[in-house]
Symmetry: C3
Subunit: 338 residues, 3 copies
Amino acid sequence: MKYTVAQIAQLLNAEIVGDASLEISTICKIEEGAPGGLTFLSNPKYTQYIYSTRATAAIVNKDFVPEQEVPCTLIKVENSYLAFAQLLNFYQEQQAAKAKTGISPLACIAESAQIGQNVYIAEFVSVGEHAVIGDGARLYPHVTVGDEARVGARTTLYANVTLYAQCVVGDDCILHAGSVIGADGFGFAPQNGQYLKIPQIGNVVIGHHVEIGANTCIDRATMGSTKIGDYVKIDNLVQIAHNVEVGEGTAFAAQSGVAGSAKIGRHCIFAGQVGVAGHLHIDDQTTVGAQSGVTHSLKSGVYLGSPAISADRERELIVYRRRLPEMYEQLRKMKDNQ
Amino acid sequence: MKYTVAQIAQLLNAEIVGDASLEISTICKIEEGAPGGLTFLSNPKYTQYIYSTRATAAIVNKDFVPEQEVPCTLIKVENSYLAFAQLLNFYQEQQAAKAKTGISPLACIAESAQIGQNVYIAEFVSVGEHAVIGDGARLYPHVTVGDEARVGARTTLYANVTLYAQCVVGDDCILHAGSVIGADGFGFAPQNGQYLKIPQIGNVVIGHHVEIGANTCIDRATMGSTKIGDYVKIDNLVQIAHNVEVGEGTAFAAQSGVAGSAKIGRHCIFAGQVGVAGHLHIDDQTTVGAQSGVTHSLKSGVYLGSPAISADRERELIVYRRRLPEMYEQLRKMKDNQ
Amino acid sequence: MKYTVAQIAQLLNAEIVGDASLEISTICKIEEGAPGGLTFLSNPKYTQYIYSTRATAAIVNKDFVPEQEVPCTLIKVENSYLAFAQLLNFYQEQQAAKAKTGISPLACIAESAQIGQNVYIAEFVSVGEHAVIGDGARLYPHVTVGDEARVGARTTLYANVTLYAQCVVGDDCILHAGSVIGADGFGFAPQNGQYLKIPQIGNVVIGHHVEIGANTCIDRATMGSTKIGDYVKIDNLVQIAHNVEVGEGTAFAAQSGVAGSAKIGRHCIFAGQVGVAGHLHIDDQTTVGAQSGVTHSLKSGVYLGSPAISADRERELIVYRRRLPEMYEQLRKMKDNQ
């Protein structure tokens, strides 16, 4: 990659403050900038670094006004974070030209499987009977695609991903290493003091443009389908139980979990280590703070705590709880004075 | 599958209310029923759906009395959930006839390993020296069975399961994809400001009829064995540390964890994201609510909170905590009035 | 293994109380001791067992004074836990002589990869283009080493470990089964109500003498490197997000998680199920108790709670919270009396 600041500004429809002729050869963090490097400033916590960065140019928000001299050229855009993301995507598309293709002779593909055009199937991949692999899909080493499972076009399955039989992944998805789609839901009926397993005869259906983190698990439905909507983004080590439905554009941070049959709305955000109990309904555009425990259905809003309540109220209670010793002491004194 | 309602009722020893001659060709959820479908009603939350289901027949509890007309035939049994589970098992047994068998030429099996009758060993399975695979065991692609490890009869190891050397899994178990049995326990002795690794020379011994979820980890003992009793059911992403012992019929929901050397009784239930500290004793038939943190040994009972206390008391404290602002205000007023 | 008590005492520079000529053939737990067994006593909770153990000898702290007759020979040392760890290491080194070596003809190694001396590379291992495998490294079945990734000397990667492209693991490390190093960080820019993926073009750099637990995930940096210092010890199912930096000698217990760009000091301890929010700084020698949620940067100290505060203060608040019903009742009475 070799571009001038002017070329990049043109790509981003941006305004330049400084030398437009400088050459950019790499992308770098603002606090670790190097000559030839392009960085960006979005989080105000990092503003301090722009006055000392060694980067050649920085993408900043239009409304950024330096409080002192800045040692690099500024590329001013509406939304610096978004512009930087676009640039990284542009960079990665160019890298993609070098991407691996072809089907390894060391893959094991059932004769009845249907394989699309321009796929990459690595060594030691297993593709089951009647499975379907879409055009341009990419399967890294040790991926297992079960019988009758389907992988959409341009979808990437990194190493060790397991897609159980009959499960479906849409187009343009990314499943990271070790993720498991379609293991049996955790369903047992108590019988004579033991558990009788409830066979899990449903599947998992994942939409398009979904990203699923490393070692995340999405269980197959008892009957019907566990459903993950389009544009859902799931981080690492997340648990999605059987028969859960997740609406379009919802995001789960790492180590969060959703119990069986919960219905999660669209454009919700679940922070890290959140738990959602089974059979609940979560409205669209609901946000739940880290480590919260959702024990009842939620209307759109922001929630926090275990059990989760309105975030404002929980934050208030956290403050009041810290006054408990003082309150106790006051009470004791009043009692003594009576 | 094609049965009449009458045939199914006979199988379940059930009473029929409605047309016994109707034909059933599939199993379905009550809210998504379709003609030819058989569903069930157990959770009272779903009662509303029985008045509008498109299913042909529904298994219900004997004591269910409809409040309005029901559009399907009712099959009345003692315990509808259990009856449905039995039916699903019956269905799955029929499916099992189609199950894969045989040993793939692409598996890698040590010559000294001992392989039972009627096994399924998929491509890319690795079986170590002196390992033992029981009759009817099923090993999916990318399973690793370490040296001297043992897999019981009729046990299924799904894709990517790792059974470390010397570990033992009993009969009729199911280990889901990505589960890791026998990794080193987390044991270090501080020495000169660093950690000296304590070699973990024990193993894991899993009983019969145990189910273990996807990406769950059970560590090998420092010495002796980490022990999982018969009929234990463990969900996904659970952590069982070294030298833990789990009694018969105990269940762990997803993302729960037990620290080293804890002794867990029989028929306990740990809900999602629970943590249990090391070296504790948990009595038989103890239930611990979601996200609780168990910091001391527990007598039989129901517990909640972090740190976990009696669930009744914790629920009471949750309510009182919400009165804190009101209490604080009252105190302030009283003080002002003094 | 066959040694006399005298030989072991000499190895540990220890004092013997009892018969020094007895023969030791195995290592055992104090509560399950057997003739010929050597055990140790460190945790005072286990002191009771030394009076009834069937072990032949026990390593104890110098200052241990039995309160009644002890049925085994005592081997007295400065630090019994450390001495026992040394002995186990000695034992394991002898076992290591039997360790597997050689490169399986069923491994798939890119021609451009650089493979060190005396390595063990098992069947179904995949090593990518220009990857580097150090001398004495050990790769178990189904390991994936991505393009241009590097594995240090004497480092062990157990079954199913995935090392993404360009990631680096130092010397003398142990990565347990299913761990995933270098999956994409969870970075998205909201755009028109959807998420635009931020390509993650950095890598992960792991130091020397690091141990990483089963199914643990360490994400690659957006730019630059996610950094794990020397001697860091990470348990199972832990999440380390993109651009996190962890200082030397820090330990994470199972199921803990650190969000993006957090800077963690040296010699910190994070107990089980702890969460640390993004972009925080944690000072050296900070300890955080189980299930805590760290929401702001921390100075050296001991912390507890969600949100985490000083452990002493949190423990005090836990006690006061339990007095809430009593306080509420007192307030009510006072009000009635006014």
